[in-house]
């Protein structure tokens, strides 16, 4: 599963994207954030307040309780500030 990070999530994680293989117990976007947060200090910092982080699966916004099964690409980013 490909994971992408943007804005300060990207800066804190220290990379723009990577491929991860979470265990089957990681079912939702929330689970994935909790699992990623345990991958080290940088991830812990990036995901320390998961409620402010937005997620998208395959280019569509999703809620944090969305099941990730079948996702090709999951992205994490702060609230958007374009326009």
């Amino acid at each position: 599963m490909k994971v992408k990070y943007f804005a300060w999530v990207r800066e804190r994680v220290g990379k723009a994207e990577e491929t991860v293989e979470p265990p089957a117990s990681v079912r939702t976007v929330d689970d994935l954030m909790a699992w990623l947060a345990k991958r080290g200090e940088a991830y812990a910092h990036a995901f320390e307040t998961p409620r402010v982080i937005r997620a998208a699966i395959d280019h569509a916004h999703v809620k944090s309780d969305t099941v990730i099964a079948g996702a090709g690409e999951i992205a994490f980013f702060p609230p958007m500030t374009g326009g």
């Binding site: 280019h59 992205a75 702060p78 500030t81 374009g82 326009g83």
Partner: protein, 155 residues
Amino acid sequence: MPVPVTIRIQQADFDIAREIAALTAGRTDIGAVVSFSGICRGSEKGEIIAALTLEHYPGMAEAEILRHAETAMSRWPLTGLTVVHRVGRIIPGENIVLVLTASAHRQAAFQAAEFLMDYLKTNAPFWKREESAAGTSWVEAHDHDDAAAARWTKP
């Protein structure tokens, strides 16, 4: 006649006159064109801004803008619609974003342009980083932008 929809994400500046000409050339069914240009300001809350850097999520940004463009076309009788969003480093006074809407009637053009801007602000995956004397920092999202977007979903 098909509705021309143009969506571009680019580093380069845009030329409003050229974009309007592309939307209206050869047509006589357009009575109203509304353009919105978002411009980089030189200060925010009293702090001098040296520049903004715009980051986006390639692929999703285009898809999200197209999704809202299609919603706008289904809600208002538009004859054309253009969105250009710049990315990269932008200095005060430079353009950030352009929304153009064309319609037979002015209310449709105004409302669709406002709708698109409200949704670009809150739903399109772009992020601004500010450079100031204090260093660089990510711009925080505004509650009033969420409120502006929410008014389009009221009954």
